[in-house]
Symmetry: D2
Subunit: 356 residues, 4 copies
């Protein structure tokens, strides 16, 4: 496995859904920087399940415990290790999943790769729960970025057929960035919430799930960040964002729509504005030749619908070698897109801090 | 800069459009494997400019010269260095571009990052010509992959509004793979050629350019290749493919279309077929949890229109600090999509050989 | 900081002497391998302070707690995280050390690098205690190596002027390897113990400390392991072994003695023995061109005397900017060489598992 | 193979003794820095064979040709590729070596690892000639270091039993550094030359070779360079220096002599001198906890005698499977220690530039 990311600031994520704990080691953080731990917890709360629309107080078990790398609220420069204990480690019956892989899940590929050794319980290391330490790490990284003037915020661009407005690619209101990066159902146009929730409810009622698109903006990046070719911004951000389970596509700026444009439409004209070079449009998403041009960095990530659904599904029985039907009981989250918003932001933060 | 890729088989690409030469060092190749050099040259010819629809014999200057790593046609296991000499090193007047960055090009970001030191001539290290050594490296990698049963082929899925058919994601004819991977205008449905060429001609006549989409398939990958999280197939392939100038988006399987699907539609049911586990559909593009499931790996890359166009364009004059208009004379390639097909295949080959 | 090692099997060590815990994440371990946890604990006991010559039962607080990567006693293939809790986190007065750096310690360099942010308590991340997770990781790696026929054992070659016998470089008795790798005062010639303990006692009585040399042998390595140049066996082992605080030198085979030899003396003649190629002597330490030749791998590491001594020492006062005298009270270990033996073995194990 | 070094500034060395060329790609060099090419050539001349005591003009074929990364004499920031053509590519009879491996050489291990694919001619990629591109890369790196106040120089500390004086570890005359780093037979005490040359001549007359020790000093390093554990100065320098064929040991500061010292002798007392913290002695070689303390960095490398000697040697015949005798005709360099001095400096430069 390779659950590590980064050269300068290295993340090493560990943990299985039902093991002793999940967490992350972050190596290479600068010494002496103060961390606002409440802000870290606020980011983690955005990702945590069951938080949206609820007022239940934070459960103790979700608190990341800092084992190293901080003295009080200051980074020491030594590797930071944060652990979140698992409380749900009861020995449920997962034998079913071991023999009948869930369609759309990693059950089958993990079985082929790790055989009986794989910890299937709750999805093991492939569980969405593994994104919690990523959000923790991203929350640290984004504080360092903010101190350098860089802001990251994302929103739910689409759930099923319901759509939010898009970021204005050439000028993003700082107040919008602030609001989005604190929201648990992040929308530019908040009137889109009703139709999105309707999509989720319809999926839930059908014992089904639904996917979506997350759009992310990064403001305040100076021009000149990123390296040509394989360490360009697109390569680095894509590698990090595809590390999130469920992401199946990414596009920068106008992305796939560029395929139908002419060069005269796609090229972003340069202009002077208050003595600085800006572009009039931002089809390139703030990146030329892999390097930032000083405009907002914009990208979108496609999130597939949660594969866990309660409907009976066609699968195979790896024990008997015969086709089979799988029924998964219990409550399933019909849409993880809102909770994936802070995860996408965290992946972007981890990628960018490594290039600055 | 960081023009290197890979851990196991490391590529280090070098060269500028108008310097002494361009090339690549490949470190980690297995000793004793025979390389079909004609097949390598055939791949390079697919990428070379001016080859499509022409019968001009290969010019000597395009031949990659092997400096090390091969004895006869056999890999020695030592680092392989291949160099392609530049013949067009004449001192054209690029002062214009130094002061007036081309919209959509890396001129401006390279200027900010490297200042006067940047070799602007012909785009320097950012030139599309730098993809030639990548195709060379990919041609070596794909021969190693083919020997392990893995085939890679891509086609022009779209140029502007003209579209080709799509790969059948669950069953791809080996003969199609063979035909596509040798074609200089690769199409599944060859009747699409006329309308695509019409799109290109229309752009040319308008002194403009046009973008497109390339769809790539990899067959014969066993189940179990790839690592979870940041070294998953999607992360690895995306990092490599975004290393190609002009790529602005990538999606795996049904990609962005998954956002509008329900889980019951998106999940690919498992079935036994001739004793092996297959999926009935392939919305996941052959990848679950970052790991191959044994079905064809399918992805699409969005190619932006070539930024170099002959129309006057709005830009800035970095010398005078004023807005300006740029006119670039000379012939420009109105569409690089056909030539980008082997480059996308090469990037995929480099990514996959590192995970096997 | 960069407390990570390895490409294939990556170690990420974390923790400070007096923080919440110390530990390691190991990424890339093979799935399905059974781990003998008692054997792991036995290795850790060899390193733990105060174990030698005592029969005190193991304190609970020293037990590594596995948070992830194992199901029962089997590796799952997911990253393995082990944590050892710190119990000694009381707020002793370390202000003294912050202003008066201990000669021979990292206090001064850590102060320059991390300033006030550095966790000085107990040496922080620079503490010898940080070698505990390294021994843990090495214990896992050596079990994997043993299963492939590779054995690692080291002994105290010298403490001060007292010396042990040397390994026979061409033929090492497996029983000796077994005995050494379980010993807490590892000696080939056990009669050397008395004079070594006398050296340690003499240093203790003088409120001083004493250094030594550790010799390490690895048997069972097949010929052909290692890569030329920067990933050769010497480079890899040296990088890992110098990661241990207190190591100031390393030599392979006859090492520095080769400087005075003629080629005709240094070259190890090849011979056939039972159908295999062996060398009659082993001045090269089992490595030619960075690659194993199938003979025992032999290296020696120089360990400097523990810098913490009770004698008054000349230092500076960083607060007042004046020369000063430092007196450190409390018990100090006058010789860490015996306890460093399993740490050197662990570093070798981590290096070799990455090359196999 | 892995002939690459570095994270920040990456070296990728390629080439075989008798292939088309040898060279290096350096990725990550800063844009805009001017390179004194004559100074680069001067370093390469120190390493080149047959230069010592001769006045033969430089042969054209030894000139490194810059293919990329420089515009005039200025670094562009793009990867720099330098190639040295091989002129001696005649097809000599190496079949002998293929079947009868030279004792002390990599012939046997390369045979086991690469089998028939290995390019045995002249030692192939294992040839000492491969250190030429390393000296080239080091010459670039040392110019960047010098501009930051860091100087590197080494000398022949010993050849056989003949010894030079040692560096004064606490205060090194800049004029000495200048003299040594330009010398082709670098000695602190130049009266040692006669006895050293006598050692070499004695070896030559005996159709034998002789080893030695190189001592290297780095001045001007600020305190605080290096990372704890595996990216400490010792780990980084050792990994680079062991990349040089023939190096079998390395020690920092007092190195192996520390084993016999007491802590009270080994610890270097801190003192204020002109407002800066210095140490009165320098047993630690300028490194505490893997991090520079601002004093000169001192290390010594053991160089084994050249394995190529004209005496008959015992070996095996891999073709017949029988013991055999090998006689190598032709002129052999009886001592490579003087020429290895600039190679050791180059390796140190490559290591240090990656930590600054």
């Amino acid at each position: 496995m390779s659950s590590t990311y980064g050269d300068k600031i290295k993340l090493s994520v560990f943990g299985e859904s039902h093991g002793g704990g999940i967490g992350v080691v972050i190596d290479g953080l600068p010494a002496g920087e103060r961390i606002d731990f409440d802000a870290v917890l606020a980011q983690m709360a955005r990702r945590a399940p069951g938080r949206d629309k609820t007022a239940t107080p934070r459960k103790e078990s979700d608190l990341p415990k800092i084992l190293s790398g901080m003295l009080g609220d200051v980074l020491t420069g030594a590797p930071l290790c944060a652990v979140i204990e698992n409380t749900n480690t009861r020995s449920q019956d997962y034998g079913n999943l071991l023999s009948k892989p869930r369609p759309g899940h990693s059950d089958f590929t993990a079985y082929v790769k790790y055989r009986a050794a794989n910890d299937i319980r709750g999805g093991g290391h492939f569980s969405g729960r593994i994104t919690a330490p990523l959000v923790f790490a991203g929350a640290i990284c984004r504080q360092l970025l903010e101190r350098r003037g860089v802001r990251i915020a994302a929103h739910i661009q689409a759930i099923g057929n319901a759509r939010d407005a898009l970021f204005d690619p050439v000028s993003i209101d700082p107040a919008l960035m602030t609001r989005l990066s604190a929201s648990s159902f992040a929308l530019i146009d908040e009137t889109a919430e009703a139709k999105m929730r309707a999509e989720v409810e319809a999926a839930r009622m059908a014992q089904d799930s639904v996917g979506g698109i997350i759009e992310c903006a990064v403001t305040g990046l100076p021009a000149g960040v990123g390296e040509p070719m394989f360490d360009g911004i697109e390569s680095a951000v894509a590698k990090a964002v595809f590390g999130i389970p469920a992401v199946k596509g990414i596009e920068f700026g106008s992305g796939f729509a560029l395929a139908q444009l002419r060069g005269s439409q796609a090229n972003d004209p340069f202009r002077y504005k208050n003595g600085s070079v800006v572009t009039e449009t931002n089809n390139c998403g703030g990146i030329l030749g892999g390097i930032t041009d000083g405009m907002p960095l914009i990208f979108r990530a496609a999130i597939k619908p949660t594969p866990s659904i309660s409907q009976p599904q066609k699968t195979v029985d790896l024990q008997t070698g015969e086709n089979a039907v799988l029924e998964i009981h219990g409550r399933h989250d019909p849409c993880i897109v809102p909770r994936a918003v802070p995860v996408v932001e965290a992946a972007a933060a981890a990628a960018l801090i490594n290039l600055m």
